[in-house]
Amino acid sequence: MNYLEMKNVKKNFGDLEVIKDISLTVRQGEVVAVIGPSGSGKSTLLRCATLLESMDGGELSYLGEKAVYTDNDGKVTYAGADELRKIRSNFGLVFQNFNLFPHFSVMKNIMDAPVRVQKRNKKEVYEEAKQLLDQMGLSDKENCYPYQLSGGQQQRVSIARALALKPKVLFFDEPTSALDPELTGEILKVIKDLAARHMTMVIVTHEMNFARNVANHVVFMENGVIVEQGEPEVLFNSTNPRMKDFFGKFHEV
């Protein structure tokens, strides 16, 4: 089943066309890695998919339900507020700089949205949250505040927070780029675990090796278009000169 479908998505910032006609499908259980040079529009694509940025054209749907569509006149229509709310519950996003709520304890960060927004039973949510923290190796941190955690621990809490809402698709925007190499490993391991549990994920990353090892599908973007996409092995051995150049740079560092 197609969990996420984007069709002919366009996004401009003023005169700057940042996303030019991109189509992308993510199926259930798939792990998609989005790579590409800086400024190519990866983050913007993710922000359009998560409805943080309004689109200037194209279609966006989750599990077959249309969140955005464009009619023949080019008029972009968003679904109603109620429908959007429902659609939003289908996905979660893990930010590059975590964006935990600093005034909430770790536990409250995870529990607040399920309880307050989804109006779920507090006790039940608590049990699940404990399990999630366990899974993230943070069982002893439930009463800590974010400032008391290392960057890697904060990122794991933010993953747990997103998972607590039981999203169908989880997006990551460079989840490790605010971390030093040691902490990076922690997060990549967590994402690998999630992949093993068949979580559907879209990951923007600069970690080529990780993309290669974990993703089922890799998308290479440049200047607002998808240059090439496919299985990792195919892509990483592409003969496209632009891509060879790109990978070359990474090997150098």
Binding site: T50, L51, L52, R85, R88, S89, G92, L93, F95, N97, N99, L100, F101, P102, H103, D112, A113, R116, V117, Q118, Y145, P146, Y147, R161, A162, L165
Partner: protein, 216 residues
């Protein structure tokens, strides 16, 4: 005049001053939030009106504003005033004035919040109102507390301006006592009272600041 009588009188004035202080905070703190909403509204007319309101409140002396609030209803609309209106006018004048100051403080706090907090809240499904009151406001309060403290301490002294419309707060009482006893002692005692009042306020604010230090 007996010093005990003097102290008792001044204490009465002090009570009035404390009353003005407390009621002003009670009304201006929430009112300031409303003004901030106006100031940050998407509606240009509303935004400009609040902007003007704030600039007038901050650009003219509070004493003048008190006089306008007090005598305005009569001179402008011919309304009869009642005795109890004097104190009400003081509170209205102070609350309107301080709301403008607090509004600007709130705004600076709200604008200093990283957009990531809003975006995270949106992603997690919080409504706009939930997002503001559950996620943003508590953090804003912590951020603006030092500025609020400054303003609150200024308010302690500003209560003395109520004498411009003959409210019998501490400063006015001290003046009257000075006249009756033909000495400066009441003024000096009033000064000490203000000083202590300020000290207590600073102490309380510091306590609140410490309380909010459970997170960073």
């Amino acid at each position: 005049m007996d010093i005990v009588v003097m102290l008792a009188k001044l204490a009465e004035g002090m009570a009035k001053s404390v009353g003005i202080f407390g009621l002003t905070l009670l009304f201006s703190l929430p009112l300031g939030l409303v003004v901030t909403f106006g100031r940050m509204s998407k509606n240009g007319v509303l935004r400009n009106i609040t902007k003007f309101y704030i600039s007038v409140m901050r650009g003219t002396p509070l004493m003048l504003q008190l006089m306008v609030v007090y005598f305005g209803p009569f001179y402008l609309f011919g309304m009869k005033l009642s005795t109890s209106y004097r104190f009400i006018a003081v509170i209205i004048g102070f609350a309107l004035n301080y709301a403008a100051y607090f509004a600007e403080i709130y705004r600076s706090g709200i604008e200093s919040m990283p957009t990531g907090q809003y975006e995270a809240a949106r992603l997690l499904g919080y409504s706009r109102i939930q997002c503001f009151f559950v996620i943003i406001l508590p953090q804003v309060i912590k951020r603006i507390l030092p500025s609020v403290t400054n303003e609150v301490i200024t308010l302690v002294k500003d209560t003395s301006l109520a004498f411009a419309i003959s409210e019998m707060e501490m400063f006015n009482v001290a003046k009257g006592l000075a006249a009756a006893s033909t000495s400066m002692v009441p003024l000096v005692i009033a000064g000490v009272f203000y000083y202590i009042f300020n000290f207590l306020v600073a102490f309380v604010m510091e306590f609140i600041e410490k309380k909010l230090n459970y997170y960073r």
